[in-house]
Symmetry: C2
């Protein structure tokens, strides 16, 4: 299974760097890809020009394959009353930071589901691999990308999502377990979530779908990679392992939290962005623990406020509102250059 997947992806090691919008960088992708893994660029949280620039930055220094990640969330269902109440709810925290909340919230990311400009850019640039999070593009988009020779991956948190990915023409599935840091890839964030752990999910998908499976969630070292491969995955995708790398965009506070006691207490929250995401605990997640999902605006509308609140707090020299995403493997994070980490992982792999 591993040989088949590595051949598909054009890489030497069964190691994918997770895309991690806000944390990854072209330098990280270059380091991982040049070391024999698959580096990734997060294009879901920026526009077309930002994505094109990241691709250019990688290609200026590497001709190895890389993965361009796109968000395919269902466009936000707007709810003006809920959004206004949400702004009011956080007014005291803005006031503590000496700032006013935004007057209104915006849908800050365009879903690839309806982003024709992004599709045109991707077809023109033709990254070796494109991966989808939060859902699947329509048949026409998939057909166009496949016709361009691009290998397509999609996140799945359940057998049903994996089967949908298979039916939609993906080349492989990223099995995202409950352990995983950052945004959970559930296609419908309001549906019941079985919260399936990486081990159980990988094994189930390996048994029930024909596509190669890439395991994600809680994998931090060579033994973790060996474990998911024993469970039937062809490769592992690691995000949290790279947060403390030199090429990461994580700031000092984020790195300190990751390497401290908080790492043992990651929490799944939707308060920051409007979708469930695993995060190091902070003031934001604590306050959010008692808020009903029905009160939180849709993703990424809620994230507009979350980012504004974090920016206001930081300007005032306060901490506690950042999106410090991390998975349950966080206690095993290592601070080193991404290339060194990738080579270390390769050396640790036994299988």
């Amino acid at each position: 299974m591993t040989a088949r997947l590595l051949d598909l992806l054009g890489i030497d090691l069964p190691i994918l760097q997770a895309p991690m919008a806000g944390v990854s960088s072209p330098a990280m992708a270059i380091a991982v890809s040049e070391a024999g893994g698959l580096g990734a660029l997060a294009a879901g949280a920026g526009g077309v020009e930002a994505a094109r620039a990241m691709i250019g930055a990688v290609r200026a220094r590497s001709n190895r394959p890389f993965n361009l990640n796109l968000f395919v969330h269902a466009p936000a269902r707007r709810d003006p009353a809920r959004e206004a109440a949400w702004i009011d709810r956080w007014r005291p925290q803005f006031a503590q930071a000496g700032a006013a909340p935004p007057d209104r919230l915006h849908e800050i990311y365009t879903s690839f589901a309806r982003d024709d400009a992004m599709l045109a850019m991707v077809l023109a640039e033709r990254p070796a691999v494109v991966s989808f999070h939060f859902g699947l593009p329509d048949a026409a988009r998939v057909a166009a990308l496949r016709a361009a020779g691009i290998v397509l991956l999609a996140s799945a948190t359940s057998l049903a999502e994996a089967q949908a990915a298979e039916a939609a023409g993906m080349h492989a599935v990223v099995a995202q377990g409950w352990e995983a840091g950052g945004h959970r890839g559930c296609f419908d964030p309001d549906a019941a979530d079985a919260q399936t752990g990486t081990l159980a999910l990988v094994r189930l998908l390996a048994r029930r779908i024909a596509l190669p499976v890439i395991a994600a969630g809680g994998i931090m070292d060579g033994a973790g990679i060996d474990a998911v491969r024993a469970a039937g995955a062809g490769a592992a995708q690691l995000g949290t392992a790279y947060i403390a790398s030199d090429e990461s965009l994580a700031d000092a506070a984020y790195r300190a939290a990751l390497l401290g006691d908080a790492a043992q207490h990651t929490t799944m929250t939707r308060v920051i962005s409007g979708r469930p995401a695993r995060c190091l605990p902070n003031r934001f997640t604590t306050a959010g623990a008692t808020i009903a999902p029905e009160e939180i605006p849709a993703y990424p509308v809620a994230y507009d406020l979350g980012k504004a609140l974090n920016a206001a707090a930081r300007t005032a020299g306060q901490t506690g509102f950042g999106a410090q995403w991390a998975g349950q493997g966080a206690p095993l994070a290592r601070a080193m250059p991404a290339a060194v980490l990738t080579r270390t992982l390769a050396a640790e792999i036994k299988a």
Copy 2:
């Protein structure tokens, strides 16, 4: 690590049958132990005489090692007002079954933490292995059991609990991941739960404690066993895999649910017993999904009502209130004799 653990437990295969009160049986324990694994008896939910009888039933047919499991929960903090409100809350469901709820609730299980009669019985019978769930006995009990030559295991859902087990003199730790079916072993059910998945937990404990680690949660076949061993466990404990075995006490409705679509939607609930436990979804868990933990009586007081409600419903020919515990591996459950399953698992193991 596996050789060390098998030597400690006196078994041939890296396979432990989970104790599973209400599902396991002496026949199941015999089948697993005779096949080379470690069978288990659940003594936490019965009294001393029930435990002695189960031990006798096993010894009449096998001289292989087995594991006697005990509950070491903190004795329930009683709350008459909460318990009365709890009885009232379920009055309509009792009425639908043509029954009246109990007038008052009782602490139906005695914790081994204060059960001197159970200690005396265990010291007299001397099972090869004793395992603890929900906590650890005090130093005097541990010393007495160790002096009797009994190998001691304890469940841990976090590094802190595993470190406590190590400090208390356990011989090995059962790393119970979020995937696991039945009651979560958290020492304090009211403390924040990091919900750590099996893969992340096993790897963390393998890296941070010196004791052998037994992995539990989501393991259903030889590849699952290989996976957790690659992650650093010496053996795997399987519960859900044995629910559909011939020797299981699971009734027909439970088996049908386990082998149906519900298997993909297990849910963690504390409504049935007062402590978080992973269960197949049913009327009880659905109703419980909107109930705040503060409203639920302490374990095992709430379980007194849960068992009464299930009994009343069954008497009326209704279903939906049973404690149909199952882990996230449930979709891979197989119906076969426990000995055949154990031998099949052994044949599937590659490592």
